[in-house]
Symmetry: C2
Subunit: 197 residues, 2 copies
């Protein structure tokens, strides 16, 4: 006999498939939900359905939006001469949070990764090249600073160069404001005993 | 202008109110949901609604169940001479997982905590006393081994003694199978440098 009722077990199974949630966290969440008023649980469930129902990709920049084109692409106050190329829609969220960037975006939908079978045709690269017109003066390559992100940036730079736009890459190095002691990590195993190897 | 669409922002707000999920985890989950097929997101949302819809408290032991009385209370193979008293329904799940206990349960719904304004009338103590009949030979007090749990166990023991049942408390000490080095924690600050203070 199972030790939890069917509906509880199913909710725990469903929740533990989400990133960062294990079986124990899922169980804790389900028992927490049981103590909430019915309306609040309904609100949570509804908000998850809504995300999937209402969210669509902007046909210009491929950011996630509820209106097409997205509010960033239609905003006339944004600098239309700069396009910042990112891998995923959550990178747009991270950059917008800083409030410092006033240009447009282009979401690739991933990075080049031959090992995972992701080639140039799987990303929105053609769509990016089509956006480069006389108005665009600069393209910032803000792909992640890892092997795949670097390869993608190099590949894009090669394609963009003949189009006569300025190509920038985000600065890489020790994050400003952190302690050097914790920022330098060992190249071999990513431990923090950099000085010892 | 907000940097995320309304439905995304709402889902992140709702998710980050759950225990153990911060804003960053919530954002990661929402972007993960966007990549899932619609049916899977619907399945998750539905399972959360179902928990609240179908789950009810067993009128005998106050465990969470879909049928009243619960499958444990109605199971004729279980030892009806022992009642294990726990604080919450998830404690039942934890004990059932071990598969070692074959008796019945009683869920108090919390522990005595005068600081939080939880007194004996807020717990299902009367209901427990009403269950003590000639059939019941032993009551195991499996409240948590913290100040509130201990106080609750002492209080219950005092009430149960005149009823002539055997009263047991779960064993407390170093968990079997662990390393002594990691089990002894400092009394002052709960750090693991027990030997040094």
């Amino acid at each position: 006999m199972p030790y939890l009722s069917k509906s509880l077990q199913r909710a725990i199974d469903e929740l533990s498939r989400l990133p960062g949630i294990g079986r124990k966290s899922a169980q804790r969440i389900v028992f927490y939900l049981l103590k909430l008023p019915k309306e609040e649980v309904h609100g949570l469930a509804q908000s998850l359905e809504d995300v999937k129902e209402k969210a669509l990709y902007c046909s210009v920049c491929f950011n996630i939006t509820e209106t097409d084109p997205c509010p960033i692409c239609t905003n006339q106050n944004r600098d239309r001469s700069v396009i910042c190329v990112v891998e995923e829609a959550n990178d747009v969220a991270a950059l917008e949070k800083t409030g410092d960037y006033k240009g447009l975006y282009h979401v690739l939908g991933g990075s080049l990764s031959p090992l995972d079978g992701i080639g140039p045709d799987d990303l929105r690269i053609k769509e990016l090249l089509r956006r480069i017109n006389d108005e665009v003066k600069e393209v910032i390559l803000a792909t992640n600073p890892n092997a795949e992100g670097e390869a993608t940036a190099l590949y894009l730079a090669k394609l963009l160069k003949p189009l006569g736009v300025k190509i920038s890459r985000i600065a890489r190095g020790i994050p400003v404001g952190t302690d050097l002691e914790y920022s330098l990590v060992c190249y071999l195993c990513h431990c923090q005993f950099y000085g010892l190897v």
